[in-house]
Assembly symmetry: C2
Homo-oligomer: 508 residues x 2
């Protein structure tokens, strides 16, 4: 048994080496690669991913998993060994359902589609990507159908990112959230918008990057196991538990972009850096789900990084970095600026209140497309109508409407958006639980600018376990209850009740 | 046939993707990787290299090569297709002689050995690495013996880097060179050494890097297909013909290091960037041999970059970058400083005259070790004795003696040094041929600071062909004769005859 278990781990390590190498090729492409490298790089990443897939779906892995079944059953559920076998089995059974040829075909198609999208979006030309998106929808439906027996066709796609979730459950949570959220958005957006002109001044790039990195380090991000680089679309990536990198993007005429991107990606990185080192190289050395991962980027970006307490300590430091720009701006003005709520066109720039409406719009359109109740050719119009209904604005063009997100143009349709809102919900749930156990967390942040107690609670209750537990298991273990929107709504009501008049929305 | 040929190319492309990915992992390790990434990175590179080796030595490749033999014979020798088959066959037949397990064993051993060396060298502790080096010698002899029927045991090791060369031929060339070189070294080193204090001032890093890169661009290095980064031990690396990178190292108290490292690596990069794009992804997309590759780094670093003509144009520019440091230093003083000849301990810092004696010392010791005429335990002493004989200095310690070069501690013993001196010889041979066809090359450099004619001649006669031709074929094609030390000696006599009194050495 021991020998078979070791053989499995050796095989999984090889898969991990290939995937990690592919990850580094992507990081390099997004940071330092000269333009001439693009064509070969796409092919090289595809080769590594194909080999990783081939090695992982090799029948030899299946045989080892079969042989190790009695061993797994003899172990405690939450032992590392049983968890490794359980998670590997789950991933393996999923992976072998997708024919190797299909995965390669989809990769080629989405590469092409992405290329066309990068030109179609600036040209505001939905027609140009339409045939590609139709094919993508076709592939997405095929992918869903490799997992027959579903309740809803989107279920397998959702489950691939958020194991344990399905269309019905996400819809239920979203409906509940929506009902509470819409009146708050209305109450806020009917008021005078916050003045965020203090953020729209000239802020030299180097100083922005240095300040963001300094905060990341204070959060607990370890630079001997990570680094910060510039890119176009910020992301976090991991090549091993000893090498977890973040990227950010700067705008010299807007302070908010680099700073909050950096804190967001730091949240993801703290999760990965917090995983127990002895899970290295196994399928357990990752986050529990897309939603749980996102909860950590949101927690550090928003619940910490946009809080009054955080800036009580750090605003004087920011002012001393940018004395000309912020010396005369009060902390209150700054605080209102970084928490400005408005109905805007672009999801990635949206505030934490309206953000979820952007997600729900996409999630519902995905379901309709997969169900066959919406045709791709009608998608731009459906987008406009829904946007008007939810935000009271009609996007003036497709560029900032249906063409805005890369997701549908660089991957399958279905499963890729719900994690963002689940993350918002869970961020509050985890943070509230941490503060319940350690009520001095907010004052430690406010008075000392320190995050150790919060970080240690998250490491102990969430990060260290990697993906040993499913999302619902880890939520239950860490917070003592199932996923709930209560802490999130309480957080929004308290925070935005201080910034705006919420009228009768402020009463739960 | 066409289908089989395509299948072979597809398989070779996969091997190339894996090797290129391993190359990027190394580049990242040497430039940006945080220290925490080291352990996993070593394993990841080993996995990619092992898979590349497995894929390349797969019997399927052998079958395709066999089946394609009649096709190859039906083609012109210098057609791309025949060349691809010929070179692949040569590499394949070599690769399959080395058992896969052996390659992996050596990789593991040299990784360990390297690790120990990084500690033993600063500690001046040869005894610490001795057992590793003994094992390395053992592995080296084993490796040589996978190629029975040799004249000299080092032959296969030499041929792996410099195809067409063997111990007898290298020894013959080196003996011929040595006879001419030793009197010149004696003549020069008996004179007052040049004053190079102008190079030993404070030169801010950013300005050094910018100046070096500017010259690299003027040489013809294309930044949309390359980039320059800092590292500890400068190198050039290629991930595709569209992505050929160089690295350099700066010392703020010495101008010579970054500048000439950059020009050296630029020479390697010009070779790779000059390869015809349609050889991309095949075994033909590389240099002809270690010696021919080195000839290009030497040509651009020394024959161009340390020439009086080059600095006639560029010295005023360098002075304007460093007015405080060089404003009062004459061009002649600078020229003598960058061409200072002296008997020094360290190969990599040696001038272009004494450099070859460092190489010959190592080459001869390698032969003696492989022959069994020298034991590892006697190596430090043999080094000291030979050094004293050649340079009139006894190295005060092993750190700057037998422990100085990474080569023996990070790879096999044998074959890794001769390329440097072959490169010096060939640099002159190629440059002289280019100037014979285009006599205005020196004045184009001196008067206009331009390199197009030289670069274009090298592209047309050398670079574009990649490794279609062997070293001796390409030397013959480009220069009309076999490898010859004549142009090199003529170059040294002319150049150093202007800088020093060479006495009767100046007459050939």
């Amino acid at each position: 048994m021991e020998a078979k278990f070791q053989e499995l781990k050796t095989r999984l390590l090889e898969v991990d080496d290939l995937s990690s190498a592919a990850g580094l090729l992507y990081w390099d492409q997004s940071t330092y690669m000269p333009p001439g490298g693009a064509a070969a790089r796409g092919r090289q990443m595809a080769t590594l991913r194909r080999l990783a897939h081939e090695k992982f779906t090799d029948p030899g892995i299946g045989k080892l998993l079969d042989a190790l079944m009695p061993y797994e059953e003899s172990l405690a559920y939450d032992s590392d060994e049983a968890s490794l076998l359980r998670v590997t089995r789950r991933d393996y059974e999923r992976a072998i359902k997708i024919p190797a040829g299909f995965a390669a075909e989809v990769t080629n198609h989405t590469s092409e589609s992405y290329q066309v999208w990068t030109e179609a979006r600036p040209a505001n030309d939905f027609e140009r990507v339409r045939p590609y998106l139709e094919k993508t929808l076709d592939y997405s439906r095929q992918a869903a159908n490799f997992f027959p027996g579903y309740e809803h066709i989107a279920d397998a796609l959702i489950e691939s990112r958020d194991y344990g979730m399905n269309a019905a459950e996400v819809s239920r949570v979203f409906a509940e959230l929506r009902e509470e959220l819409v009146p708050i958005v209305s109450a806020i957006t009917s008021q005078e918008p916050a003045d965020d002109s203090c953020l729209h001044q000239h802020f030299p790039e180097e100083k922005q990057l240095a300040f963001g990195l300094e905060v990341a380090k204070r959060f607990g991000y370890e630079l001997d196991r990570g680094r910060l680089d510039k890119t176009h679309h910020p992301f976090m990536t991991k090549f091993s538990l000893g090498d977890v990198r973040i990227t950010t993007r700067t705008k010299e005429n807007f302070l908010g972009d680099a700073l909050f991107s950096t804190l967001h990606e730091t949240g993801h990185a703290l999760y990965e850096q917090g995983i127990r080192m002895d899970l290295e190289g196994t399928p357990l050395a990752g986050g529990a789900s897309s939603g749980v991962h996102e909860s950590q980027s949101r927690l550090w970006e928003n619940l910490v990084g946009r809080s009054r307490g955080f800036w009580y300590y750090y605003y004087p430091k920011l002012q001393s970095v940018f004395p000309e720009q912020l010396g005369a701006v009060s902390r209150d003005t700054f605080n209102r600026a970084i928490n400005k709520v408005e109905c805007s066109l672009i999801r990635t720039n949206a505030d934490e209140v309206t953000y979820n409406l952007h997600v729900m719009l996409r999630f519902d359109l995905e379901l309709a497309l997969l169900e066959g109740n919406l045709e791709i050719r009608d998608l731009p119009n459906a987008w406009r109508e829904r946007f008007d209904a939810d935000f009271g604005i009609v996007p003036p063009d497709d560029k900032d409407g249906v063409l805005q997100d890369v997701h549908w143009y660089f991957g399958l349709i279905g499963g890729s958006f719900q994690g963002y809102t689940l993350g918002n919900i869970l961020a509050s749930q985890f943070y509230t639980s941490a503060c319940k156990v350690h009520p001095h967390i907010p004052s430690e942040i406010k008075r000392k600018g320190e995050f150790n107690t919060l970080h240690n609670w998250l490491k102990a209750n969430l990060y260290q376990h990697g993906s040993k537990y499913t999302a619902s298991e880890i939520i239950e273990r860490a917070t003592g209850s199932a996923l709930s929107i209560e802490p999130y709504m309480a957080y929004l009501r308290t925070k935005y009740g201080e910034l705006y008049d919420l009228g009768n929305c402020s009463v739960a």
